[in-house]
Structure formats: structure tokens, C-alpha cells
């Protein structure tokens, strides 16, 4: 569904993207992570046709981004909504511009409003809504026409846990219908919840790409033993064997045992350290 190959984009002397390559299949959620300035937003803007790359190519369902706008849904990093209209008017506008007709449009607005829990404030002006509510409206506007490629650029920044969960649920459902999703975030546990494949970006290129399980394989977890007077932490790639050895060698009573698997945070740190 999305194929970006060798993208290059510079802003004066700064290389925002430098041979950035990423693909997403229908039904796949790609979690794109990286520090600020890694090129995530520039990539999203190129895929959505807002920016032209200096080099490389992007295809959305085999078409250039400009010709594939009907297939695209974008929730940008910053709120980009009309404050003087209501969420219902916003959804009707974006749904209508994407080609939805009367009854179909009404049904789509109701469905996405219910899914993202914006029904209660559907007829209040966007400008008076909280930041989290505006985030939900922005995500709904990106998804109301059920796009084949959904780009969500930090959609949960500054939202409460309940909102986050409802958004993740909707994104998962959307991918289940066959849409490709590129999900940019700094909250890595969200990607575990989404079951997303991972792409780690750094200095304008993707430095690690794969299923979370594959990438985490071989990364050390941790065994933690707590005694009365101290705590012992040992990083290990084989927690069970390490724990057994530690228990055999322990010379004082063990109060608690904790085995932790490597997380996406660990993966991110390891990948970034290696580059």
C-alpha cells in the first residue's frame, strides 16, 4: 500500500531525510519511532503530498501521493482544525470532500464519533473543546472516509489514558479492515498494544525495521532478586537459566523475584546506541 524508497529531503544545510526507506502492507500497522528531528514528520508530510522530496520516490497504492489523496487520511502532529465549527461540521466537511455522499456520510460520521467517543460534544464548537477532545476530532477527521492509508503523527500527544485506549482500539479495527497505518509516537508501549511492526528512525533514515518480536529477540531482559537488605539486577538473554543460577548461589533469604522481558524502550535504546 505504501512504498517509500530512498527519500531525501533537505532544509538548507539540514538533511531531514537521508535515504529514508519504509513500506507498509495493507492491514499492517507500522510504528514509526525516533527522537525529535529524526524525520518522522517530514516523512508523513511527503507521503501526504504536502512536501516534495529532493530524491527517492513514494507510491501509495502504486500512485504518486498527489494522485492518491482519496486513499489518504492524515492526522497531523499539531491540531489543524477550524475552531469556530463543530466536530459534526468538521467530519461532514472532510468526509464530503473525500467523496462520501449524504446517507453514507451521515452513517460514517455517527460511526467514527461513537468509536472515538466524541458523540457528547459533537455539536459544540471545536475551539471550546479540551486538547484531548480536539485530538480525537482530528483523528476522526482523518478516518471518517476509512482511508486505505492512514498517517497518524503523534495522535495521542497530551491525551488521557482513556482517550488513548479508545484511539488505539479504533486504529486496530481500522487496520483489521485492510488499511495500512503509519503510526508515529514517542510512547512505545502503544505500539505493543497495537501489535505494530516497528521502524526506528534516526538522522533521517530507518535504522531498524521488523516485527517487534524479531527485533526484541536477542535483547537482554532482566532478573531482579530482592533480599532483606539489598536488590540485585542482572541483565540476561536467558532469564530462566540466570534466575536458577542466582537462586542456587544466593547466600541469604530471597524476598522476591522479578523477571522482565526486553521492552520496545530497551529496543529503541539499543538500536540508537548501536548507530
Amino acid at each position: 500500500m505504501l512504498e517509500a524508497l530512498g527519500l531525501v529531503k533537505g532544509y538548507g544545510p539540514v538533511n531531514a531525510l537521508d535515504d529514508f526507506t519504509l513500506a507498509a502492507r495493507p492491514g499492517e500497522i507500522v510504528g514509526l519511532v525516533g527522537h525529535n528531528g529524526a524525520g518522522k514528520t517530514t516523512f508523513a508530510n511527503i507521503v501526504s503530498g504536502l512536501l516534495r522530496p529532493d530524491g527517492g520516490r513514494v507510491l501509495v497504492d502504486g500512485k504518486a501521493p498527489g494522485a492518491a489523496r482519496r486513499l489518504l487520511g492524515l492526522a497531523p502532529q499539531h491540531i489543524a482544525l477550524y475552531p469556530t465549527v463543530t466536530p459534526r461540521e468538521t467530519l461532514r466537511l472532510f468526509g464530503g470532500l473525500q467523496g462520501l455522499r449524504r446517507r453514507e456520510l451521515g452513517r460514517a460520521v455517527t460511526e467514527i464519533a461513537e468509536a472515538l467517543r466524541i458523540t457528547d460534544f459533537l455539536d459544540r464548537r471545536v475551539g471550546v473543546l479540551s486538547g484531548g477532545q480536539q485530538r480525537r476530532v482530528q483523528a476522526a477527521a482523518a478516518m471518517v472516509h476509512r482511508p486505505a492509508l492512514l498517517l497518524l503523527d503523534e495522535p495521542t500527544a497530551g491525551v488521557d489514558p482513556e482517550t488513548r485506549q479508545s484511539l488505539l482500539e479504533v486504529v486496530r479495527d481500522h487496520a483489521r479492515t485492510g488499511a495500512a497505518v503509519v503510526y508515529t509516537t514517542h510512547y512505545l508501549p502503544e505500539l505493543t498494544d497495537l501489535g505494530a511492526s516497528i521502524a526506528v528512525a534516526r538522522h533521517g533514515r530507518v535504522i531498524a525495521r521488523g516485527e517487534a518480536g524479531e527485533l526484541l529477540h536477542g535483547l537482554p531482559g532482566e532478573v531482579r532478586l530482592t533480599f532483606d537488605d539489598e536488590e540485585m539486577r542482572v541483565p540476561t538473554t536467558d532469564p530462566a537459566a540466570t534466575l536458577a543460577t542466582m537462586l542456587v548461589e544466593a547466600t541469604k533469604p530471597v524476598r522476591s523475584v522479578d523477571l522482565s522481558r526486553p521492552t520496545l524502550d530497551d529496543l529503541y535504546r539499543a538500536v540508537v546506541r548501536a548507530h
Binding site: L50, H78, E89, L93
Partner: protein, 251 residues
């Protein structure tokens, strides 16, 4: 996609009309203030000008406040940048031309309505004699609104903030209006001001609208030609500026 064009345009026009009507402050003040000033100044103009004093009071205020309404045109475009909605719309199948038409049409209609109401008010309350036909007056109002719209869009393409827009509109509006004879009849202005007056679009607007009210179709046509030319030049400059801005945005 092409067959969806009328639907998309209707959506955009409806949406932009809603945006304008939800933020009516400027329009209301530019409608109420000229009415008040017409009433206050009409005795003075009547005394100074035995013939056409009422027309001077009504058309002068109409032109000055319609030029001030340039800020409404500019704001309509500038807010899209500050709200970041311009880029958001570009990710839909809507083209930039469609977006501009969707923005311009409601503002154009509001400008026409504003000026029409002021002329009706002038005729009914200030007793301005009206000899011109409704069609002639409406044509003149439409031509002036077109010129204003084009100048406003060109301005919005140049300024970078609401503060800059307000400054340019206020200074520009008062200069264009004053030099154009909206405040003082041309014949009473100093010689140097009379010489430079035709350089002001306000001069041609005052001339055209006074002629329309008086029913002088030839004079309306001459002034309208100049204003259409001014509007066309401003429109071309606006297109060039917006095109360049889009290229800068795309990098």
C-alpha cells in the same frame, strides 16, 4: 474526481460561509459605523455641496468602509495559515484553486451585501436621490467588490501576521479613501491631491458608484474598466504569490 467538482465547491462555499458568519464582528462594525457616520456627516456635506451632498456622504462612507473590509478578505485567508487548516485541506482531493474559490465566493457575496445595504440605507434614511437602475447599481457594486477581493487576496499573500494585515489595511484604507475623494469631494481637495487622486482605486470606486446612483451608465463603464483592470492585476499578483508560497511550502 472531476464530476465531484461542483459538490466539493458547494461544500467549500458552505463551510466558508459558516466560518464568516460565526465571526461577524468586523462585518457588523463595517456596516453599523458607516451608517452612523452617514447620519452625522450628511448635514455637513449637504451644506458644503448644494448638489450631491447626500451622495457624497453615502458613497464616501461606503467606499471607505468597504476598503476597510479588505481586512475581512485578508483574515479569511490568513487564519487558514494560523489554524494550520490550509495544509490539512491540501491532503484532501481539493485543489488550491477550488480552495481559493471556496474562500472568495462567500466574502464576495458579503461585500456585495454590505454595500447594497449601505446604499439602501443611504437612499431611505439619508435621502440620497437614486436615479440609476437596480441592475446598474448592482453591477457597480459587484465590480468594486471584485477589485477589493483581488486586492485583499494579494495582500493576504504578502503579509505574514494578523498584525501586519491590520496595519496595512488601516493605513491603506484611509489613504486610498482619502485620496480617492471618499472623505472630501475631489474638487475641494488641494491641487496635489487632485493630481494624484486617479492613482487611487478609491477614486474610481467613488466615481463609479456616484455615477451608478445618478444613472450615468457611460461613466460607470469607464470607471468599471479601470477597476476591473486593477482587480485583474491584483489577481495575477495574488496567483503568482500564492503559487510561489506553495512551492516554498513543498520545498
Amino acid at each position: 474526481m472531476r464530476t465531484d467538482l461542483p459538490r466539493r465547491l458547494a461544500l467549500l462555499v458552505g463551510h466558508n460561509t459558516t466560518l464568516r458568519l460565526r465571526d461577524p464582528g468586523h462585518l457588523i462594525s463595517y456596516l453599523v459605523m458607516p451608517m452612523v457616520l452617514m447620519l452625522v456627516f450628511s448635514p455637513l456635506y449637504r451644506a458644503a455641496l448644494p448638489r450631491g451632498g447626500e451622495a457624497q456622504a453615502v458613497i464616501g462612507m461606503l467606499v471607505m468602509f468597504s476598503v476597510l473590509s479588505l481586512s475581512v478578505v485578508g483574515t479569511a485567508l490568513l487564519t487558514e495559515r494560523t489554524w494550520r487548516t490550509w495544509n490539512r485541506m491540501r491532503v484532501t482531493p481539493v485543489s488550491v484553486v477550488e480552495m481559493l474559490i471556496g474562500k472568495a465566493l462567500p466574502v464576495f457575496v458579503l461585500l456585495v451585501v454590505q454595500q447594497t445595504i449601505l446604499i439602501v440605507f443611504g437612499a431611505q434614511v439619508v435621502d440620497m436621490p437614486v436615479a440609476g437602475s437596480f441592475a446598474l447599481i448592482l453591477s457597480a457594486v459587484c465590480v468594486w467588490s471584485f477589485a477589493l477581493l483581488a486586492i485583499g487576496v494579494a495582500l493576504a499573500g504578502v503579509v505574514r501576521s494578523h498584525g501586519e494585515l491590520a496595519a496595512v489595511c488601516d493605513v491603506g484604507a484611509l489613504t486610498v479613501s482619502a485620496l480617492g475623494g471618499a472623505l472630501t469631494p475631489i474638487a475641494m481637495m488641494p491641487a496635489w491631491a487632485q493630481a494624484v487622486a486617479p492613482a487611487s482605486p478609491g477614486y474610481w470606486a467613488v466615481t463609479m458608484l456616484k455615477a451608478a446612483v445618478a444613472g450615468e451608465a457611460d461613466a460607470v463603464a469607464r470607471a468599471a474598466l479601470v477597476l476591473v483592470a486593477v482587480g485583474a492585476v491584483a489577481g495575477v499578483l495574488a496567483c503568482i504569490r500564492i503559487g510561489r508560497g506553495l512551492k516554498e511550502l513543498q520545498g
